[in-house]
């Protein structure tokens, strides 16, 4: 294993819902965010600033909750994926 995040996420089983459980409330707020911390603190690299908006790779979310607490403007609406969906650990 090379240690990159893609390889790490590959070890996890996900049952992906078609709808995102993570919503950016207001992309304008992201535009004005100087630090864009979600691009760094997320352990699954879910958030990327694409130059004009924040993209959300919710399929990779490991449901830790860091973004809900860490976003300086609380601009992320965070709920659980639909029952039985999302991450399923093998060991935990």
């Amino acid at each position: 294993m090379s240690g990159g995040i893609e390889d790490k996420l590959f070890t996890i089983r996900f049952k992906v819902d078609e709808n995102s459980h993570l919503i950016i409330k207001d992309q304008e707020v992201c535009k004005n965010c100087a630090t864009k911390e979600c691009n760094y603190f997320c352990p699954a690299d879910v958030y990327h600033w694409e130059g004009a908006y924040t993209s959300v790779a919710f399929e990779n979310c490991i449901e830790c909750g860091t973004c809900r607490i860490g976003c300086p403007t609380y601009n992320i609406e965070w709920v659980y994926p639909k029952g039985g969906h999302g991450i399923t650990y093998k060991f935990g």
Binding site: K8, I12, F41, C64, T66, Y80, F91, G92
Partner: protein, 435 residues
């Protein structure tokens, strides 16, 4: 799902929820055990240590059947610099009689533990999210789920939905955790042949070792790492406060990668295959972050109530104990036919009189202390000075031991900003863990 009414609905089939569900179901109460994962434990994660005592309190005859990995005979603490370690530890055969604690995996353990609640009569409803609490006035009367016709009613709801506790927050009993009340831990499950693990960690049979490490590995952030032995794998992880990740912009998984490169850790994991990467928040707000534990028609347990002793990495045991206490209080409420705060506060009282509350109270000053100090000083500079002093003392280079000792003390004082600051640091630190 019919609009049936139960004595209790337990939200979350982790150690707190299953302990509560088991306790109540065994006493004949009608209990629903709700879990959003595919099965209990599917969403759950911990570093890896389970304690016997609290499990035995709940399942005196059955705790031995729990799917443990290794029973811990040795606990080590490493203070790391970039190339070195000062190590402390305690190994004792007495930890086997009776077993003190075990390593485990939550996917296995939580399924087993929830299974005990099911055997006792709790009704499992899995793959179902509790969306919100149903209220009548100031009373909680049920749970709305994401299933069709998914309203469930009960006299009391046990909120055991973990660190993110959306339900606890919706009650307004505490605000959202702040970034310095929670740590993010990332972990890898690294597989190695059993014999390799036993050789590298000096083990026989099912003996196991835990290692906690602080120092250079957290890159100047407030945090701690861990390396635990399982049967055929190692759990390697590191947790740092979310506020620290925000400050430093260090990516959690890159931090974990750098931990794996540390020379004393690299050699223990080498040749291993990572079969799972994982991440989870740990509630580390301590005593001052504990919300009220009960109200009209509800109780809150485990991580959802910030019941984690991060100084001693105890959490699952506090969760189990709080779940058990909550279950006992609800049984009494059922006997009295009163599910208001007046009776359910028996739960608060039980927690208050136990080690759960008292241990967290003891360390109540630590949170403030960590806020006050420069994290780099405590988590990088002091570990480095300690390592340098050890190196100097053990290095035979013609310099006298007296000189080496003088230099070490001088450097320690300098690092702390002079004699007065050193004394203040020591005093405050002492107060924080002996409050």
């Amino acid at each position: 799902m019919a609009n049936e009414k139960f004595d209790a609905i337990v939200v979350g089939a982790g150690p707190a929820g299953s302990a509560a569900a088991y306790t109540m179901a065994k006493a004949g109460l009608s209990v629903v055990l709700l879990e959003r994962g595919e099965f209990p434990g599917a969403k759950n994660l911990f570093g890896g240590v389970l304690y016997r005592k609290q499990l035995e309190d709940i399942l005196p005859d059955k705790w031995q059947e729990a799917p443990f990995e290794r029973h811990i005979v040795e606990q080590r603490l490493w203070i790391l610099d970039s190339q070195s370690a000062v190590t402390f530890g305690h190994r004792n055969e007495a930890f086997k009689h009776p077993y003190n604690c075990f390593t485990g995996m939550r996917v296995k353990f939580d399924q087993w533990f929830a299974g005990k609640a099911e055997e006792a009569g709790a009704l499992p409803i899995y793959e179902t999210v509790a969306l919100e609490l149903i209220r009548e006035g100031d009373k909680v009367v049920g749970v709305r789920t994401d299933r069709e016709d998914g309203d469930l009613y009960a006299d009391v709801v046990v909120i055991a939905d973990g660190v993110n506790s959306l339900l606890g927050k919706s009650l307004g009993i505490h605000r959202e955790w702040s970034p310095d009340e929670v740590s993010l831990a990332v972990k890898e499950q690294i597989f190695l042949p059993k014999e390799k693990i036993m050789d590298r960690f000096n083990l026989e049979g099912d003996e196991g070792v835990t290692i906690e490490f602080i120092g250079e590995t957290s890159k100047g952030m407030i945090g701690m790492g861990f390396l635990y032995t399982n049967k055929e794998s190692l759990s390697l992880g590191i947790g740092v406060m979310v506020s620290e990740l925000k400050r430093t912009r260090i990516k959690p998984y890159e931090l974990l990668e750098s931990v794996k490169q540390h020379p004393v850790i690299r050699k223990l994991i080498q040749g291993g295959e990572t079969k799972e990467y994982a991440g989870h928040l740990i509630p580390e707000g301590g005593y001052h972050s504990i919300p009220p534990l009960s109200g009209n028609g509800w109780v809150i347990c485990g991580d959802a109530a910030q019941l984690v002793n991060f100084v001693h990495r105890e959490g699952t045991n506090l969760a189990m104990k709080s779940g058990q206490f909550a279950g006992e209080a609800i049984i009494e409420a059922k006997n009295r036919g009163d599910f208001s705060r007046a009776t359910l506060s028996l739960y608060d009282q039980k927690v208050k009189e136990s080690f759960v509350h008292k241990d967290l109270r003891k360390y109540r000053g630590l949170h403030g202390f960590l806020k006050e100090i420069d994290p780099k000083l405590a988590f990088t500079d002091l570990p480095r000075v300690l390592n340098e002093a050890a190196y100097e003392m053990l290095l035979v280079d013609g310099e006298t031991k007296a000189n080496k000792q003088r230099n070490a003390i001088k450097r320690m004082k300098e690092t702390l900003g002079g004699t007065f600051s050193a004394l203040k640091f020591g005093y405050k630190g002492w107060r924080a863990i002996n409050g």
